[in-house]
């Protein structure tokens, strides 16, 4: 994934996310790049988490502890200090992805408490759609880009990035 979009497309992405033009350009970039980084890493991260869970059941306890810590970290982004100071579209994208994470792990861990705040904030449909994409897109490394694209469609982020060939 290439975050180094041409300026015209980058400006368009920033407009679509309603990132205020009055913010310093470095802050605008940080918000856009941060959201896209989460899009890329969290969607594919589900694959890694699931592989680890299935392949190494002896590590499940450790994984569960790590996930609970991550869930608490993610929950901090729901605070008024974050939600009321960040652009709404950025907040919504971030919360929908964190909501998908909470929904998935609340089922695995049997801890619905982890998910209820996201449900209360109205992210049930989006979080559900993100998880559905995990089922629809084949679980193969060659399909990772398709998975990210499907998440981007769900979150209204399609066209805010472009793929570039990977050269090892």
């Amino acid at each position: 994934m290439n975050f180094g979009l041409p300026n015209s497309r980058r400006d368009e992405a920033i407009r679509r996310l309603q990132i205020p033009g009055t913010l310093p350009s470095k802050v605008q970039d940080m918000l856009l790049d941060g959201l896209l980084l989460q899009l890329r890493s969290m969607s594919v991260g589900f694959r890694v988490d699931e592989w680890l869970r299935q392949s190494h059941p002896e590590l499940r306890q450790l994984q569960a502890e790590s996930v609970r810590q991550q869930l608490q970290e993610n929950a901090k982004a729901l605070s008024p200090q974050i939600r009321q100071s960040m652009p709404k579209q950025v907040v919504n994208g971030n919360t929908a992805m964190n909501g998908a994470y909470a929904l998935f792990w609340s089922r695995v861990l049997g801890e619905a408490q982890q998910w209820l705040p996201y449900k209360a904030l109205g992210y049930e449909n989006q979080a559900g759609a993100l998880l559905k994409a995990l089922d629809m897109v084949p679980d193969e490394p060659g399909q990772d880009c398709a998975l990210v694209d499907q998440w981007a469609l769900t979150l209204g982020l399609a066209g805010t990035y472009e793929w570039s060939p990977y050269h090892a």
Partner: protein, 96 residues
């Protein structure tokens, strides 16, 4: 290792009113806060463990543990009261 207390806070204004029964979605002020409180109590109660839900003028604050004893909550409530945080302390005692 003992289970840490889980905490989450978010703006009351962001609460999705469609979660409430239709006749309560238009409520304002204290009546709305009460409806939100009841909503969360109904959501968390069947899950067991311990939960503290505080709805203030502008904030939803939830703290919960999967497991625990009333003594845990009483201890925390006393700590809140001794720090002068009476609203939270009293709310926790209600749930303990």
């Amino acid at each position: 290792m003992p289970e840490p207390l889980n905490r989450v806070e978010f703006p009351l204004s962001d609460f999705d009113r469609s979660q409430l029964p239709a006749e309560k979605r238009g409520l304002q002020g204290e009546a709305f806060r009460k409806a939100v409180q009841e909503h969360f109590e109904a959501e968390y109660a069947p899950l067991g463990g311990f939960v503290e839900i505080v709805i203030s003028e502008s904030l939803v604050s939830i703290r919960w543990k999967r497991e625990g004893t009333p003594a845990d909550m009483v201890e925390e409530a006393v700590a809140c009261l001794s720090k002068g945080d009476y609203n939270r302390g009293v709310a926790m005692l209600r749930f303990a």
